[in-house]
């Protein structure tokens, strides 16, 4: 077992993990954070996206000991019913949510984009969201929601 310490959704967290444990399994099975989803387990779908030190990554391809000393944001650390994040608000308003399985990953990719680049153009939005697959929508509403969130942020 390896002792790791990291900051999870702004709270310090210390755990003993196995060397071959995936971050995704640690989040879901040990910490009970079920918002991070496993869609493919091989870095294709982006449903398990989390933000580590300001970068989106697929948590199914991260070993838990790799995040020692890191800052991690999962969907549980973004917004709530009283104060939803502008991206979450826009997803609901535009109707960018269908089955919802890809949604947490989509929200995190969009949030991270806007954190870095509050006024992205359409191409930048497209690239930022290109690692998250959705099988229900045609992506159109998702891209519109990110755009709306950016516009709301402007005002």
């Amino acid at each position: 077992m390896i002792e790791i310490k990291f900051v999870l959704n702004n709270k310090p967290c210390a755990l003993n993990v196995e060397a071959n444990e995936r971050l995704l399994d640690v989040l879901r099975n040990r910490l009970g954070l079920m918002g991070t989803k496993e869609g493919c387990g091989e870095g294709e779908c982006g449903a398990c996206t989390v933000i580590i030190d300001g970068k989106t990554v697929n948590s199914c391809l991260v070993l838990a000991p790799q995040v020692d000393g890191c800052q991690i944001t999962t969907i549980e650390g973004v917004g709530n019913r009283q104060s939803p994040h502008p991206v979450q608000k826009a997803f609901v308003q535009v109707g960018a949510v269908q089955c919802g399985f890809c949604t947490p990953g989509m929200v995190l990719s969009a949030k991270n984009l806007l954190d870095k680049n509050p006024q992205p153009n359409d191409k930048e939005i497209g690239v930022a969201m290109s690692g998250n697959l959705c099988r229900c929508t045609g992506y159109d509403k998702i891209l519109r929601a990110v755009k709306l969130a950016a516009e709301e942020g402007k005002g």
Partner: protein, 280 residues
């Protein structure tokens, strides 16, 4: 399983000498292979905390890229854009934003998939690789390294890539089944010496047509030292189709790739030579 997280290259190499360990770079291939049971490492040396391996810098005639520089970092680097356009372009389309944030150039070489996006540009640009092992330091051209089996002996660490700054113009294009998250079905990187409309030395590297990316000697010979014009481009297309045909033989994908490579070759040229053939 032992897990080590050294802070320096020296520590990493020392650990590698004592344990039969596997180096962990970005993990996008390694973690997956561990998960599916394809490999069972005895020990892991995580290189992620060694800051000196992440450096991208210019030093006396070389662009030096630490093996742990990620595709995202390379793809956002002004230096890489200016000095090694082919590599910069490859970094824009590899995987997805999430994968680019994790995956490293060193890992791309270490895993050495036939479709590795980073290798054709490095080959075309004449990159050297600095390796560190118990035998000491070794600087070897990537071309030579890729002809070795196994690629790396046990415990050998990929320290950095060194791209000689010879003022080459370079470009890259790949064929994937979709825009994002596409594994290259075929990739072409080209680097040329270009003065006005005169082509000097030419280097063409191909990905996903063999077991490993490789540099085509035939194309270098046939295309070097000539006038840059549409005739030259057509000659290049004819040549690259022939090279791909010979490399793939009777493989099922051969007819498709032989045809497609002409478009990919033209696209790769187009990334740095505008239509009509005048220098950028």
């Amino acid at each position: 399983m032992n897990y080590f997280q050294p802070q320096t290259v020296g520590q990493a190499v020392n650990i590698a000498q004592t344990f039969e360990a596997t180096f962990l770079a970005g993990g996008t291939d390694l973690v997956l292979h561990m998960q599916t049971g394809k490999i069972h490492p005895n020990a892991i040396i995580d290189l992620g905390k060694i800051s000196e391996l992440k450096e991208i810098k210019e030093t006396d005639g070389y662009l030096e890229i630490g093996s742990m520089a990620t595709f995202a970092e390379l793809g956002q680097s002004e230096l890489v854009f200016q000095k090694a356009l082919a590599l910069w372009l490859a970094c824009q389309t590899m995987g997805s934003p999430q994968i680019r944030n994790q995956a490293t150039l060193g890992g791309n070489l270490g895993n050495c998939s036939p479709a590795a996006d980073g290798l054709p540009p490095l080959l075309a640009l004449g990159a050297e690789v600095r390796l560190i092992s118990r035998e000491g330091d070794e600087v070897v051209s990537l071309e030579t390294l890729l002809s070795r089996t196994p690629l790396l002996s046990q415990g050998t660490l990929i320290r950095e890539f060194r791209i000689p700054l010879k003022g080459l113009q370079s470009g890259f294009a790949k064929l994937g089944r979709r825009k994002a998250l596409a594994i290259a079905r075929l990739s072409v990187a080209i680097a040329i010496e270009l003065e006005d409309n005169r082509v000097g030395k030419v280097r063409v590297a191909l990905g996903a047509v063999g077991k490993r990316a490789y540099l085509s000697e035939i194309l270098a010979r046939e295309l070097s030292d000539q006038e840059l014009n549409e005739v030259w481009i057509e000659k290049g297309i004819e040549g690259v189709q022939r090279v791909v045909r010979e490399a793939l033989g009777a493989r099922a994908s051969a007819p498709y790739k032989r045809e497609a490579v002409s478009g990919v070759f033209r696209e790769a040229l187009g990334t740095f030579i505008p239509e009509g053939g005048t220098k950028v």
